[in-house]
């Protein structure tokens, strides 16, 4: 296992510690930006939900509850496995770290598979605006707005999750392979972990918006 001495800070940093702290601050700043991005979308959703509560409840009946709920459980678990991976990195247990990262990766991929199946189901249920949308009785024209939100929100979320999967793969196949993640310096993994947790949190907010409308 190559020694950590081969990892040098970039030219603009004095120490690895400064580099790591800076990377983490960068990721948090990026997440502020992402929060406002999804926040603007969720805000728009609520404006229309408050204006058309009945129509939204009718339209949302077609949301596949089991898919959303299982996916919620999957993502929350994947955040746990990610934290365990980081913990293993800090403790200097590379094997455990790789296993927990693989678990995170697997859970992320399963999420996408279930999402893909759900999209297929949505197609069958004819809830794709403009493509094959069929309004149910009582929905009016506002019900379609629920589904616009659904496709935009879950689509964007899936893209973000895919990026997260890519980052985990990058960690596994590049940084860890080259021995660049050690107890002395594992900031890149922490940065990916922060991002992953954010993707999980977004789903936590999207879940009630999509799957719990009118089900209380």
């Amino acid at each position: 296992m190559p020694a950590s001495a081969t990892v040098r800070p970039e030219i603009q940093f004095a120490t690895l510690e400064q580099q790591g702290d800076t990377a983490q601050l960068g990721m948090w700043a990026f997440l502020v930006n992402e929060t406002l991005f999804f926040g603007a979308l969720i805000f728009t959703y609520f404006i229309y939900r408050i204006s058309y509560p009945h129509e939204f409840a009718v339209a949302a009946k077609d949301a596949v509850l089991w898919c959303g709920s299982v996916n919620l459980a999957i993502l929350v678990t994947s955040s746990l496995t990610m934290v365990l991976a980081i913990n293993a990195a800090a403790q200097g247990e590379p094997r455990a770290m790789k296993l927990w990262l693989l678990a995170t990766l697997a859970l992320g991929c399963i999420f996408l598979l279930i999402k893909g199946y759900e999209y297929y189901q949505d197609f069958q249920d004819k809830v794709v605006p403009v493509v094959n949308y069929e309004a149910k009785p009582g929905e009016g024209s506002a019900g379609e707005l629920f589904w616009v939100f659904y496709w935009v929100a879950t689509g964007l979320h899936a893209i973000h999750l895919t990026v997260g999967i890519g980052l985990v793969l990058y960690m596994l196949l590049w940084r860890i392979r080259r021995g660049e993640i050690t107890p002395a310096y594992y900031a890149p993994l922490e940065v990916v972990g922060i991002y992953w947790s954010f993707v999980d949190t977004v789903w936590l907010f999207l879940y009630p918006c999509i799957y719990l409308v009118g089900r209380s």
Partner: protein, 314 residues
Amino acid sequence: MYRWIPFWPDTAAVNAVAVNNLYVAELGLSALIMATVFGMMLVFCIRYRQGSAVSRADRVQKTWHFEIGWTTATLGAFLILFVWGAAIYVWLFQVPPSDEEVYVVAKQWMWKTEHPGGQREIDALHVPVDKTIRVVMASEDVIHSFFVPAFRIKHDVVPGTLETIWFKPTKTGTFKLECTQFCGLQHATMQGDVVVMSGPDYARWLTQQGVHESLAEQGEAVFRAHGCSGCHDANSTVHAPPLAGLYGTYVHLQDGSVRLADEAYIRDCILTPRSFTVAGYPPVMPDFSGQLGEDDLMKLVAYIKSLGRQESGR
């Protein structure tokens, strides 16, 4: 009163007089601020230029006194302007009891105006002087904006709802009507004339328009043609809210909210009844979205208003 100021636009309504005074006050304050800043800059630049021998000793070190001083002064001046402007705004946009009503439908790229007696105009609006005129506006397509510079009154005309404004002209004449919200290709030429006439002239003008049916009568025809009377007639077997005396009252809706039955409310009920079901009534009214143009909606509104009204509290 302000005609001595060069480039001063016409002042032809009570609204405009109030705005004039405020504007002149702000012009004065602005001139004062500009003079102070420019004056200080000029004096300092000359007195303390590189070559001058004036003493630079004893520069002010404690800046807080000055900063708090001019911050407080500016905040004080600003708050006065704010209150003054807000008072005018609130007065401008709360429609008082009116003497005359007109309906305006804006579309790309013309102004269609209708009087309650059924008189219609394109790109023109005849009104009597010294009367409070209530203007109910709808757009058929995009957002327009109804602006009469001489009256200093402006409001956007937004599709999907009705906007109401008022003005009271103080002198006769012809005044420009402009569209000030970009609405497409011919936005720049979407202009009209507001013609203010004396009372007798206006009355004469109304009779000369060759109109046989008032707006409310036309509305009644639309009402029957679209089957509204099937439910809302007094003899109907369907349990539907009565429309006589509706306008101007407060309506309790199914979801617990209360709305004033003004023009916009009536329009909303016709187009999206499901969202405005009245408490105690079944949600069975069909929605007419896409079936009625703004012209027809205006006529229906006029008709329902004619069925007896409480004077609007707005």
